[in-house]
Symmetry: C2
Subunit: 225 residues, 2 copies
DNA sequence: TAGTGTGAATGCCTTCACAGCT
DNA sequence: AGCTGTGAAGGCATTCACACTA
């Protein structure tokens, strides 16, 4: 939606080789839709069909894909396998990215268990939390490390992507330490605007805000009567 | 970000009394920032200060607030309490919205426990899942209902907002049933584009896609060398 | 004929710059 | 003097329409 409009915004992101931000944000959706709909059985797909599966307009899909170079055949459609490979390479789903999760509360635990990461090339390699109750326990086969060892954990795993699922108050301090250790991409679930240096990408996911946006529309419906 | 742009976009949303979608998406952030920074002690805030706390530009903040009518004083700033009240009313945070969560896996459980909903006027009033193992158990003080009773649950609670934390395959069917019972706002965590009638708002939160967008930028950094 | 690729046009959002209050 | 409110300008993103190709 909106997208974006969307909330969940990038910071410090440079214009990126001619691919507009809005397009980048949709590529994962296309990739996912391709995998979900056409597991080896369909060989060609039209822009109309794929667009519907991804929830966008056909012309938008075509324009987006044209940014990656052209992988369709006029009069026919797109070669599914080839297109999927191409998008995968571009969004890095072909590689495997180690990810560190900081904050092992309810949300952090859910993310550690989230099945949608693995097929997209992400592997959760470490969990970090300050709570003595949690440190040392095992979650999804990973031992929770103490927050004081954050630097060591990041160094050992070589992670450049981190997920922040801490309370809002702790987020900035943790982010600073992550960036200092070489993390350059942060997915932030805390409801704070993080300040990071140029070149570090942050995406914010504010679950409360998402619901609030829906409530706004509901509120408007109420007022209309 | 991209916000919005962004994935997570509204569907069926009408132009809304002159308030643009992009502004609506930021209002909850302003509301949250006001609450976090100024708990009763500061009476006036400038657009510059609030904008920094919310992670936007001062001019954007001013333009956004001007959509709500004018609650600032030239040469002085915004009356914190008054502004907060005004935004709260507009986004419906002054009311209390009952919310039904469908899908009580790791994510659904985390959402049921999420502390960020209550202060924004949301109360989780029901949990629904098809699994015989879960039905009847208690999560955060709520007994999990069977998916077959979905219609009854929605009717009894009077919820118009629902959260979908089901697998992708089940999402559309559940959405259809929710809409049929009068739900008009859906927060969708399943990685599927939902088809809903005019007048129903859907916001999609795709956690895997969020990470994938970050991976795209990392991939680009790698290729640059 | 069917469906991609893409300039052109439209519309939306953001940024700028300054007029207007206090 | 300081800071909001807002028209105007500029930049993106989306949509349209059609040339082009298999």
């Amino acid at each position: 939606m909106i997208s974006d409009l969307l909330p969940g915004a990038g910071a410090g992101a440079r214009p990126a080789r001619g691919v507009p931000d809005a397009t980048v944000a949709r590529l994962p959706t296309y990739h996912e839709a391709l995998g979900r709909l056409f597991d080896g059985r369909v060989e060609v797909v039209s822009s109309t069909a794929l667009a519907e599966a991804a929830g966008v307009s056909p012309s938008q899909l075509r324009k987006d894909l044209s940014c990656l170079g052209t992988y369709g055949t006029r009069g026919v459609g797109y070669d599914v396998a080839r297109l999927q490979r191409q998008i995968a390479t571009r969004i890095g789903a072909a590689s495997e990215w180690p990810v560190v999760i900081v904050g092992v509360g309810h949300l952090g635990t859910a993310l550690a268990n989230y099945a949608g990461f693995a097929p997209r090339g992400f592997r959760v390699v470490a969990l970090v939390d300050p709570s003595p109750v949690l440190v040392g326990t095992t979650v999804t086969g990973l031992v929770v490390s103490d927050l004081t060892e954050l630097e060591e954990v990041v160094r050992n795993t070589g992670a450049v992507i981190a997920v922040l699922a801490t309370p809002a108050g702790a987020a900035q301090a943790v982010a600073d330490r992550l960036v200092h250790q070489g993390v350059t991409s942060i997915l932030n679930f805390a409801s704070t605007a993080l300040v990071v240096p140029e070149g570090v990408n942050v995406r914010k996911v504010d679950l409360g805000a998402e619901l609030a946006i829906l409530a706004f529309h509901e509120q408007r419906k109420v007022e209309e009567v």
